[in-house]
Each structure stands twice: as C-alpha cells, then as structure tokens.
Amino acid sequence: MEPEITNAAQYEQYLDSVRSHGRTMLLPALIAAQQSFRHISPETATAVSKALKVPLADITGMIEFYTMLKIEPVGETHIAVCTSPVCAAKQAHQLLHEMSANAAPGVTTEAVACLGLCDHAPAVLVNDRQVGSVTPKTDLSSANGRVQSRLHGEERMLTQWCEEDVEHTLENFLECGGFQGLRAALEHSPDEVIETVKQSGLRGRGGAGFPTGTKWEGAAQASGHPKYLVINQDESEPGTFKDRALLLGDPFLILEGILIAAYAIGAEHGYFYIRGEYPFAQQVLNHTITQARQAGYLGQRILGREFNFELEIRSGAGAYICGEETALFESIEGKRGFPRIKPPFPTTHGLFGRPTVINNVETIVNIPLIFKIGVDHYRSMGSPAAPGPRLFSLSGSVVDPGVYEITTPVTLRQLIYGLGGGIPNGRKLQAVLLGGAAGKFVPPEKLDLLLTDEALRPLGLSVGSGAVMVYDDQVDLRLVLSSLADFFAHESCGKCYPCQLGTQRQAEITHRMLAGQVLTGDLDRLQDVGWTMTDASLCGLGQTASHAILSAVELWPELIVEPDPKQVRS
C-alpha cells in the first residue's frame, strides 16, 4: 500500500509524508520499515520516534508486541508456518521442523498463530504470499500466493456475487445491482436507517452477537465529535476465514455496507483494520477504495448528498488480541494492543476517545442486503434470535472445507455431512470445535443440534464467529488442546494477571497431557486456572481461553489421567 521503499532516504521521505498525523501512523510506519528492511533497526526506530513524536521506548514496546515486526532481520525469504489447531492436526509442527532443518541460505522460518487459511491446512505465508495444503515437497516459489476459499450455500444472499478469482471493478459491481442498498438507505434519514437496522434484528457476526442497530444508535446519540466507523477484519480466530472470503469475493459490497453505516451514525472518517496476514486481501481492498474514491463513492458529497466519508486502511501486524475492539483502537492509535477497561464503551468513548461504531465485515455485508430486500424478507432468514443469513467457516476433516452461507438453520450433521460432504477417507468423526478457539467442543452424539443461538445457548454453546472445526478419529485431541493452549499463551496480551499467567499455566498442563506426564492435581489446577480466567480476566480473550480445553476434558476425561488420584487436592 505504501510506495516502494528501498533505502533510508526513501523511508525518510515516507516519514515526512505521514509526520503530521503523529502517533496514529506508528504501526503503518513500522510495518513499512519491516517490509522494506526486513527488520527495524535502532536507527530506523529513532527516525520514526522523531517524526511521529513517539517516545523511543514505546517503539521497542510496539516491535515486541506485534509479532510481524522484528528486531533481528528475517531472511530474504521468510516462511511463517501456521500451527493453530487445524493446521496442527495436519502435522504443521513436523512441517515447520523440516522446513527449518532444510532451510536454504537466506531463508528463515517461524511458527505463527492462525493464518486464516484453515480450509487449506497446513498453510504457510512466504513473505507476502499465502500457500495452502503444504507438504515438505511443495514448491513454495511457484505458488501464486493467493489462497481461495470455496463458497457454498443453497441460497446465497450475502455471497450472491462473490467471486474470488477475478479483478473486481466498480463497473461490474454496479452492473450487478451494486449500491442499490446504499441508494435505498440514503432515501431515509440517518435515524430511520438505524431504526431499520434495529428492526432487522441483525446481530454482530464477529463472535459476541451484539445487536447492530443498538450499537449504531448509541454512537449516533453520543455527544462527542468527530465520530468514527471502524471495520474489524482482524479475523484471527482460529478456524475463521469467512471475512477473507467476503473481501476477496465481493469487496464493493463491504464498502456499500460501510457507507450506509457511516451515513447512519454520522461518521466522516473510517478505518478498515485488516490483519497483516492477509496481504493479498489488503491489495484488493486498496484497489477497491481507490476506484470508489475516483468515482466519488468516497470523499466529499457522496452521491450528491450532504454526506462526506473517507476510509483509511490499517494493517495489523500479528496480534490476535487486536480483534478485540478496544485493543484494535489502541492499535490504530499507535499503541500496543491492550484491551481497555469497559465501561466506557466504544459507542461513547471509542477510537481516539470519540464515539465509535466498530463492526465485523460479515455484519457490515448484511447491511446492504437489509436495504435491498427489506426487513421482512431479511427476518425470514436465520432464527428469530439472530435473523438473517449466516456464514460458517468449515475446516478440518471434511471433504469440502470452505465458507457456507446458511439462510435456513441447519444442524451440525447437515453442515458436516450434508453440505460439507462428510469425513474423508471413511474415517469417523471424533469431535467438533464450534465457535473457534474461543468456542467449545461438541461430541459426535450432539450432531443434531441446530446451529442457532436458541438451540445452542442452553447448552452453553455459541456459534461465535461461525467457525466449525472437524476432527476425525485419527487426530490426537491432546495435540489439538495443546495447540489451542499455545495459541492463547502466545496471543495473550499480558495485561491482566489471570490471562497473562493463566494461559501460560494452562499451556504447561496441556503439554504434560500431550507428553503423557500429567501430575497429580493437574485436572484441579486446569479447572482453577480456567475458571479464574473465565471469571476474572479483563477481556474476552482471557474469559474464553479455557472454554475449549475445559469442555474437552469434561467430555473426554481420559484426556487427562492423573497418576494417583488419592493425592488430588480437594
């Protein structure tokens, strides 16, 4: 996204161009340096500090927080191997081991958290190119670097025009009825738009499921100025990749939703925060915004109305926690991604302390649809508690992994066996992890559960971000648990004690489980740690970091067998 930078002088020029924005340009500036120089040297950091008026020490704090930023240079070819729960189950650790053992000169490797390519596990990122279904024999240099996700669905409302392997142009979008929803929305006052969204019953698709209209209303009515709209595509929940598919498939539709939201809440400036592990999606997004701006869909007096809006792309740099809304704000503000204490909530004190609406990509894509087809039609889809179509990211041991749009609720069995083609190679289903790493395990006996909030909530389950990870009977679940625990330990920001300490202790216990060296009292420890994280952590990461693991040991006690149960602490 930045101009090509190859030397310090060009970088200084770049810094000059962003100087006046101050600290909010810190992460972009560091990413630019990382991409240009393969690391951030003290000299570069000093230049950034001066230009953006950020204390020197804080720059080190940033580099050490965001895993894609490096103090030591990476190789000319840097391979990041995904080791999250789906890839781990597909031998990602061995892959990493072999790749680093056989690395040619100038090649460096590293284990990373979920790359969002779970339907192509095991996956790697080679510099800025994604490669899926990798084996040690894969020729990484010949891959085109763009991993596509298959889109499925019997009735496709959100993904009607989604097409991945094409160049998306504004003309095409308009030909396919693009911006009809926007035009329809602009016929109404912002208040009426918000009312319509409330009527639609749309709930956020990022995981927490907060009513979108209520959120908009809160920000619209809040007193501070200016107001901001932030789009959250820090899609880092292991097993979740639907937002990437949406962006690659129909980027203008996302923009349409954004414009309606901005109009409704009165925001003139928006930020699109997209994870750093999606370089190609960033290019697509950038291209989309450029076209829209040229055609007057961004900027001043959009569609000839008293409606001005600018959208800025911000890239993440390797921090799952930045998907947490307040941590994401901190990141845009040029800080370490620490979640804030709530209240106050983003609707009144969000980005830069101003009223802010932050929406997930799938959520925002529902908006044009609501205005296109009307509330009644919209509410006829989904379930009463969470109306509208819903995307599921299906991965793991299934024949047809990919993104599934569901307009009429289905059971897990229908999703896995009906739509997903079942378990390959005639294996048996062992477990389903529903809702991502922060979700819970579902045993094969519960496959007839309907995937709706109404059906799941009584069992303590949730659709979450729509991730459905399938494990067959060949998978060692202890490896999956250990990978989950490693994920949370790696991604805990370290702010609050329960999560900072608990994710580490939890990982240690799962390592013992995997090694068959469980100590007396480990189950009790695992539960105390887990419940304490759930009860006392500051943000959703810590509060859910033990859910999958505790649900697994409850379902399958044989995963944790202590040597001498008599000495277990009571």
């Binding site: 204390p55 704090g61 927080f65 004690y497 329960p498 300490l501 240690e508 100590l519 420890r525 006392a536």
Partner: protein, 238 residues
C-alpha cells in the same frame, strides 16, 4: 453539585454511597479492605491484577473493584467462593512466576487466601538476571509483577520522561527500554519515581540494595567510587 447518593448492598449490608465512587471505595467506606496489587494512588488504575475482583449479582464475570463504578441497587459479594477461588488462584499463579520474597503485602494476601505458593510445580518462572547498570537503582525483574506502575510513573502519571515501556507479550511481558539499552543510555533522568511506586522491590535504590546484601555504609560508599571509574566514559556522548 453533589449527586444523589444511591443504595448498594455489600455482603448483605445495605449502604448509601455517592454514584461516583468505585466498588473499592464503597467497600472501604464500610471499613473493609479489598486486596489489590497493581493499584496505587498516584498511577492510573488499569485493572491489571484482578485480585480486587468481587461478585456482582447478575454479572457474568467478576468485577474489578478498583475500576468498576457503583450502580444503584448493586448487590456485591466480596467473599464468595468464586471470589476466593479467583483471588487464590491468581496469587498461586503469581507465586509460581515471580520472586515475591520482598513483597510483604502480597505474602500477606497469600496467607489470607490460603494460597499455596507451590501449587504449580514445574512452572516456567520468569527468571531474569539482575540489571545493575547505573549508580542509583538496581532492577531485579524476577521480582516484577507487571503492575505497570513504573512505566506509568515514568510516563503520563508522574514524570513524562518515557524511558520505559512494556515489552514482550503475554507471559513474557517485561519492562523494556529502547532496544533494551542500559538506563544511562536511555532518556532516564534517574528521578526514581519508578522505584517509589514499585510494590515488590524489583526496583530498589542502590544503597538499600547494598544494605540488603549485608554491606555497611562505608563499604557502600567505596562501592560507588569504584563504579565511577568504569561509568564515567558512558555519559560523555549523552
């Protein structure tokens, strides 16, 4: 203008408080202490240690008393089993990570909650070498509980010098300087405001450090004369 007081219930006791106070202040108003590690009157409360969590009826999770404001008709339980389990487990996990030998207040809390400092065997401790790089204080980060107070004191809460930041992440979070340079090479001005707010002696004045090592005052004075020779050159390019 003083706002109308509201009514809350703490462990069955109904009291009337200003709606602007925190749960911790409300609990203090009935003469009850809330255990807490990260809180300091001079630094911003960030709700880090979570030792002060209490149970609020109707809430999904426990509430950090230091930063949560009271609300009308709130019902609090400050000593429920959930609260005790969280406090005990946090203390046990902390004990297994850092050296609390010079943190008497935390040791008291460990006793109060019958926490077992040995609860987590084979735990990875945050062992770190002692950093002795300046004439004024010593940094023993194995004692650091990451309360953030030193960083806050150096930054926007007291000193506005910004020599310190948080580095690392998660369990490996640590207190960092610019590229982890020794203090004399940073913007540090040795005000010691960080030392003053450290709850565990991870930061300790040098005289005190030497006293604790059993030196007498005369030995301590000679100690620093010796250092002068080696450090005199460092400052020159500052």
């Amino acid at each position: 203008m003083t706002p109308e007081p509201i009514t809350i219930t703490i462990d069955g006791q109904q009291i009337s408080v200003s709606p602007e106070v925190t749960l911790m202040q409300a609990i203090a108003s009935i003469g009850q202490d809330t255990p807490v590690i990260c809180f300091h009157e001079a630094t911003t409360s960030e709700g880090l240690c979570r030792l002060c969590v209490v149970e609020v009826e109707g809430w999904r999770t426990l509430a950090p008393a230091c930063v949560t404001k009271v609300a009308d008709e709130m019902v609090l339980h400050t000593d429920s089993e959930r609260v005790r389990r969280a406090r005990r487990t946090i203390l046990e996990m902390l004990s297994s990570a850092v050296d609390l030998s010079e943190a008497p207040a935390i040791q008291q809390q460990i006793d109060d909650y019958q926490a077992d400092p040995e609860r987590f065997p084979e735990a990875h401790r945050r062992t770190q070498p002692i950093l002795d790089d300046n004439p004024f204080y010593v940094r023993d980060y194995e004692k650091c509980v990451l309360c953030w107070r030193c960083v806050q004191a150096c930054g926007d809460d007291l000193q506005f010098t910004y020599a310190l930041s948080l580095g690392g992440r998660g369990y490996e979070t640590k207190i960092a300087t610019f590229f982890n340079a020794p203090m004399p090479e940073t913007t540090c001005v040795f005000c010691g405001n960080c030392v003053a707010v450290c709850p565990t002696n991870a930061l300790k004045g040098k005289t005190e450090f030497y006293l604790d090592q059993g030196m007498d005052y005369d030995q301590i004075r000679l100690q620093r004369r010796r250092q002068q020779k080696s450090s005199s050159q460092d400052k020159k390019n500052g």
